[in-house]
């Protein structure tokens, strides 16, 4: 018979990772993406496949540039969180799993920063 209290027995047995933060961040980005996605689709549909100067002018509007930056940030953050769960569910081997997770994070930061810099560059007219 163990003399440990139930709490002492449970301590250290949890995943002790970052599940709660992941869960909260996924929901927060999801809520943010509801209005952002609606703006993105209904605004972008008017300029997609238009010429260079039209799209440049569109993105130079302050409102559009800010919302595009927010959309990109929320989208890549949400994508990283979602892809993480998919990888954790379907990739069985431990090292392949870690490799995929690291790769996703690197890719998301690279693509996210590239896009953000592009938006800023167009916005400033550089």
């Amino acid at each position: 018979m163990s003399l440990q209290t139930p709490l002492a027995r449970a301590r250290g047995l949890g995943s002790s990772k970052e599940g709660l933060h992941h869960w909260t961040a996924q929901r927060l980005t999801a809520i943010a993406l509801v209005p952002l996605s609606l703006w993105f689709i209904f605004s972008t549909v008017s300029v997609i496949s238009k010429d260079y100067s039209t799209v440049t002018l569109w993105l130079q509007a302050h409102f559009n540039a800010v919302l595009m930056l927010l959309f990109i940030t929320a989208m890549y953050y949400h994508a990283a969180l979602g892809l993480q769960v998919v990888i954790e569910d379907y990739v069985a081997s431990k090292w392949q799993k870690i490799g995929c997770l690291v790769l996703i994070r690197f890719l998301v930061f690279f693509a996210g920063l590239s896009s953000a810099l592009a938006v800023i560059k167009v916005y400033l007219g550089l």
Binding site: A30, L33, I41, Y52, V55, V86, L117, A118
Partner: protein, 126 residues
Amino acid sequence: MESVNRPLSPHLQVYKPQLTSVLSITHRATGVFLSIGTLLLSCWLVSLATNEITFAKLNTYISAWYGQIILIGFVFSLFYHLCNGIRHLFWDAGIGLNIETTYKTGYAVITAAIILTIVTYLMGCA
């Protein structure tokens, strides 16, 4: 503690498809597709920031039939993931979890995603 040859949780091959399970896996599939689509959005933004020639070249791909198919696929995936994501947020709040409501909201999600995609397509043509 390495588990031996246990199936991973969402083992789709042995699970009978139902509306609920099909919508669930579609949520994931559209999520992965949207992640790839966001990379294409980044390409669009970066080409806009690069120069007029690069942007014009990318535009010819967007205007081509395969570009249009990817675009419609992206819009549908975004609307589907958005509508079903709202369904998920309600579930997180403990609302609409009984089977009857789950089926009703499931059909509502499909209908809404299709209608919104058609509306967006018509807006793009206008």
